[in-house]
């Protein structure tokens, strides 16, 4: 197993205080990694830095051997929390756009997934529910043959039945050469698919280890441990 992502002493501040503070971690290829922490803990910032959308940070970030940039963008497939499409675009149009943008995009796979999620290719984004929009975005992102999938809260507005399909898609898509990093606060529903878990609290790295070793060490499920650590 080789290291796909290497982060050393990463710090990022927006004006006031640091959002990420001296974070160091490694992620291997062939893993499904849960990135968990409450809202505002720095998960999205971490993803944006890895995806190359934020470049004014301190520390070192290496994605497959190079810092986030043109090369890593071709290898990392990022699902942002919010959509960036115009409401007038149809599902089929969004698929064509991705096919134009990314050399590693598999149109056939996207169309199959569309069918699986019961989405109409001719449907406009603005007439879709929030859950449907999220599904479409996920289909686009997962239809790339990327080395690193960065899924920022892909389960937020999605009903439990579709959640199962999404987990199924992630598991089916699993390959030894790619890694999925998935941020969520719905740990209970997804913890069984994680190899590793990264936990962030107030910008500090709290946990970065294998999910089963955390269970062994604490005698708790990830969900229980999360509740324990972030108790108000």
């Amino acid at each position: 197993m080789s290291t796909l992502l290497e982060i050393r002493n990463l710090t990022k501040s927006y004006g006031k205080g640091p959002v990420l503070q001296n974070v160091s971690l490694n992620v291997d290829s062939g893993r499904i990694v849960g990135v968990i922490g409450p809202n505002g803990c720095g998960k999205t910032t971490l993803f944006k830095i890895i995806a190359g959308l934020i470049s004014d940070y301190q520390g070192t970030v290496m994605v497959d051997g190079s810092p986030p940039g043109v090369k890593s963008k071709a290898e990392a497939s990022f699902l942002p929390e919010n959509t960036y499409f115009d409401g007038g675009i149809k599902a089929a149009g969004a698929i064509s756009m991705f096919a134009d943008f990314y050399r590693d995009f598999d149109r056939q796979k996207a169309l199959e997934l569309l069918k699986r999620f019961n989405l109409e290719p001719g449907m406009k984004l603005k007439s879709m529910s929030k859950g449907m929009q999220e599904k479409l975005q996920l289909i686009l992102v997962m239809s790339r043959a990327a080395k690193l999938y960065l899924l920022d809260e892909p389960l937020g507005g999605i009903d439990p039945a579709a959640r199962d399909i999404i987990l199924d898609v992630i598991l089916k898509n699993y390959s030894e050469n790619s890694t999925v990093m998935l941020s969520t606060h719905l740990i209970h529903d997804v913890e069984r698919v994680f190899d590793d878990v990264i936990m962030i609290k107030d910008g500090n790295l709290l946990v970065s280890e294998s999910a089963d070793s955390l269970r062994e060490r604490t005698g708790m499920s990830l969900d229980q441990y999360f509740r324990e650590v972030f108790k108000c």
Binding site: G30, R31, I32, D164, L167, D168, L171, K172, Y174, H188, E191, R192, V193, F194, D195, A211, D212, S213, R215, E216, T218, G219, M220, S221, D223, Q224
Partner: protein
């Protein structure tokens, strides 16, 4: 160890899967000598990560309940003695739990034996009735 199919307890998931598979083998749902489905297929079926599934299967190989043949895949052992031992191990766990719970409710050993005996008798009776009908 109680196993929850949803894999949400504090027990490492690979151990939970090992337990579920051990049960399949002990009950004969996975018969001796049969081929074990591919890791990927099992991972999807159990809804867990392929690496976790791989680990569970490797550990079961170490226990001897599974064996792997270089090119043909993975098979369930034909060693019925090993399977018997696994079955007895599982039964002991269930009995331990049961006795602990019954004692917790205030039943003595003798009462527990009586209750189990009566319950088993009832079951045989109702099974016979069903057959007659």
């Amino acid at each position: 160890m109680l196993i929850n199919d949803k894999f949400d307890s504090g027990v490492p998931i690979y151990l939970q899967i090992m337990h579920l598979i051990r049960r399949k083998i002990a009950s004969g749902e996975w018969p001796p000598g049969h081929r074990v489905p591919a890791v990927r297929e099992l991972a999807l079926k159990f809804g867990v990560n392929p690496n976790t599934m791989q680990r569970a299967l490797s550990e079961l190989e170490r226990e001897g309940l599974l064996r792997s043949e270089r090119t043909a895949g993975r098979f369930i052992t034909e060693n019925t003695e090993l399977i018997d031992t696994a079955r007895r191990g599982l039964a002991e766990q269930i009995l331990d739990d049961f006795i602990e719970q019954m004692t917790g409710l205030g039943f003595t050993g003798q009462r527990i034996t009586e209750l189990v005996g009566r319950e088993l008798e009832n079951r045989t009776c109702s099974e016979q009735k069903e057959e007659e009908e």
